[in-house]
């Protein structure tokens, strides 16, 4: 096992983790503001379809990325209106969004199946990309991976050190109090949901423009769901979201690598690995904390300012 090999494994891990990281960061923000949106899978798919269509039609990857984020945001408006303005049950509205988004993406993407685009190519950062062990993994990725790093940094800082972060959290913890203090609870929640939609759309764009540059129905293959679980696992903290995404990515790569080495374990049993690891780590973390869950206290509860 040499240095380049480890670097390559990390490289693959980071790439595998990127769509999960993007969705999960968006989920983290919207859940921190108290909104549970189970529509992630649908938003990722719509983002992926629209990103591919835009990139294919314009021939410009940049437009593809923007279209993906915008499309994700647009369908999240639907969720926000029904769940926030009309105060419907968030779990049900989110599930409806996933069903709707899956159908919508298949519907609009139908004519683009089997088309190909160049896709995003990696950009090596001079010097840094030749650092042993981690150079390729962190400094020879494509633009969207770098974007995900920046978004992670920004959101980590936002939630940890800014007033806005504090406001978002207070809206999720105790909307009545936040309202009494004069914060526009519903507006903040709207923004958080729309931001989450844009992040899911970006994750979709990453899948259909960078990771596997093509459109096919169901291209997200459940990653929206994994990301939702990841946020609970990370107890709504950005650094743990990053760690969780990498851990999950690594477990995914590991089970494939083990197969390649000819370990005679059923691939089905190996495929359970990432899910088992997630449960085990969650249990260990809950034991260390002793304090129970960190879930935003009003998560999933509708808020009406007139109350």
């Amino acid at each position: 096992m040499d240095i380049a090999f480890i670097d390559n494994v990390l490289f693959a891990t980071v790439r595998t983790a990127t769509p999960l990281l993007l969705v999960a960061l968006g989920v983290m923000i919207s859940e921190r503001s108290g909104v549970l949106n189970l529509g992630q899978e649908g938003m990722v798919l719509v983002g992926a379809a629209l990103a591919f269509i835009a990139a294919y039609v314009t021939g410009n990857m940049g437009w593809g990325i923007i279209a993906g984020a915008f499309a994700g945001m647009l369908v999240s408006v639907l969720f926000a209106f029904i769940a926030l303005s009309l105060m419907a049950n968030q779990v049900a509205t989110g599930l409806a969004l996933t069903i709707f988004g899956t159908g919508l993406s298949a519907f609009v993407g139908a004519d683009y199946v089997g088309q190909s685009i160049a896709g995003l190519s990696p950009i090596s950062i001079p010097l840094l990309s030749s650092i042993p062990f981690i150079g390729k993994a962190f400094f020879a990725q494509d633009i969207m991976v770098y974007l995900s790093f920046c978004l992670f940094g920004g959101l980590w800082w936002l939630m940890r050190a800014t007033r806005l972060g504090l406001i978002i959290r207070s809206v999720g913890e105790n909307p009545e109090a936040a309202h009494a203090l004069g914060y526009p609870v519903r507006k903040i929640r709207y923004c958080a949901v729309l931001f989450g939609g844009a992040m899911a759309g970006l994750a979709g764009a990453y899948l259909s423009l960078a990771y596997t540059p093509m459109w096919s129905e169901g291209i997200a293959a459940g990653r929206g769901w994994i990301a939702l679980a990841l946020v609970v696992f990370a107890s709504w903290r950005a650094n743990r979201v990053l760690f969780g995404a990498w851990l999950f990515g690594f477990a995914s790569i590991l089970h494939l690598l083990l197969q390649g080495y000819g370990y005679a374990i059923s691939p089905n049993l190996l495929a359970m690995l990432p899910y088992l690891v997630t449960i085990i780590v969650l249990v260990i973390m809950m034991q260390r904390k002793q304090g129970g869950s960190d879930a935003p206290r009003s998560l999933g509860r509708p808020f009406s300012p007139s109350r």
């Binding site: 790439r15 769509p19 199946v113 990696p122 899948l207 093509m214 096919s216 494939l256 690598l257």
Partner: protein, 356 residues
């Protein structure tokens, strides 16, 4: 094109001869396991449907139901098609075998054709392509182009159809590179482009420099392209997904079989048969070979292709050894279709074990 037109003319003549048969078009239904937008297996069947639907024109009326899960839903869809007056129903996935047989019992006057299975009945036939023949030729190209002497194969599920393809690929590669080895990774899904890509990356990490897959998407080709390696495609010509990486593709052309089966029903000559068409019948072929492949190799591939078509060569002809170097098919023998249908061992040179 000319052939098509000739066929159409003949078909028209036949119709004129029968006379009053013109009134009602034959209703042909297709049941697909995934959406036609999967870019792989179902997409190819759908291409086949569109081709025959155009060729037969007014003589037939076709329709399809996509994304039908192989559980309890499939029998309902098959029965509903029969109930709605469809005369010939193609069920295009292995898991439809028992539902097709069950539905066929209730609709004895409807004709059913099931793809890739092994059961038949009075009104149920089955059909399959010998994709291992095209695989074998693609393997010849792959073996010649590998510098590390390691091939990588991304498989969906360890079922006989896939194992047959893996073995054929290996036997082909051994024709051009006796030292070749192959690693196999199972992804447990027909369609998850990102996972297929991860599997491809893992294989390349472990030294594979020519990849192949038996899954739906072209993600493996894209992975090879991104890493400056080679790959061979499956189902359709996948060169668009990796102009530099794509050596060739093992292609399937279902329309040949659909044409034959539909024609048989139109003529009234349909019988429940098990049809297994390959290179010779045009049901399989390989895509144009990459320009990097040396001329002698291309010539050798062409030669083997011609021999298989002429019946002078079989992919699974002896001597074939298994992984523990025991001879499984002796010199001068070849495997029977029955043996191919339940293939469950790897040939020599493939690493790892088939998961049980």
């Amino acid at each position: 094109m000319l052939l098509t037109r000739l066929r159409q003319t003949l078909a028209l003549l036949a119709l004129v001869a029968v006379g009053n048969a013109v009134a009602e078009p034959l209703k042909v239904g297709f049941v697909y396991v995934s959406p036609v937008g999967d870019a792989g297996w179902t997409y190819m069947h759908e291409q086949g449907r569109q081709i025959v639907s155009e060729e037969f024109g007014d003589q037939i009326e076709t329709s399809f139901v996509e994304g039908v899960a192989e559980g309890a839903d499939s029998e309902r869809v098959i029965r509903n098609l029969a109930k709605s007056g469809y005369d010939l129903i193609f069920t295009t996935s292995f898991g439809y075998m028992n539902p097709t047989i069950k539905a066929a019992k209730r609709f004895p006057r409807t004709t059913f054709e099931h793809a890739t299975g092994y059961k038949m009945a009075k009104n149920v036939g089955n059909y399959m392509t010998r994709d291992h023949e095209a695989r074998y030729l693609a393997g010849m190209v792959a073996g010649a182009m590998s510098k590390t002497d390691v091939l990588g194969f991304v498989g969906a599920f360890p079922i006989p159809e896939v194992i047959r393809g893996i073995n054929a690929y290996m036997l082909g590669a051994q024709q051009t590179n006796p030292d070749i080895k192959m690693k196999v990774i199972w992804v447990n899904t027909w369609h998850d482009p990102a996972r297929e890509r991860e599997a491809a990356e893992s294989l390349m990490l472990q030294g594979a420099d020519v990849l192949a897959m038996h899954t739906d998407s072209p993600a493996v080709i894209q992975a090879a392209e991104a890493n400056g390696k080679y790959a061979t495609g499956f189902n359709s010509d996948m060169s668009a997904y990796g102009p530099k990486a794509h050596l060739t593709s093992a292609m399937q052309h279902w329309h040949n079989m659909y044409r034959a089966k539909i024609q048989a029903v139109l003529d009234g000559s349909w019988k429940p048969t098990s049809v297994w068409h390959g290179l010779a019948e045009g049901a399989n072929d390989i895509a144009p070979i990459h320009k990097d492949v040396p001329e002698p190799i291309v010539a050798l591939v062409e030669q083997h292709k011609a021999q298989i078509i002429a019946g002078d060569r079989s992919v699974f002809q002896g001597p074939i050894y298994n992984q523990s170097n025991t001879i499984m098919v002796s010199d001068g023998q070849q495997m029977t279709d029955a043996e191919l249908l339940k293939f469950n061992w790897y040939v020599k040179g493939i690493e790892g074990k088939i998961p049980q």
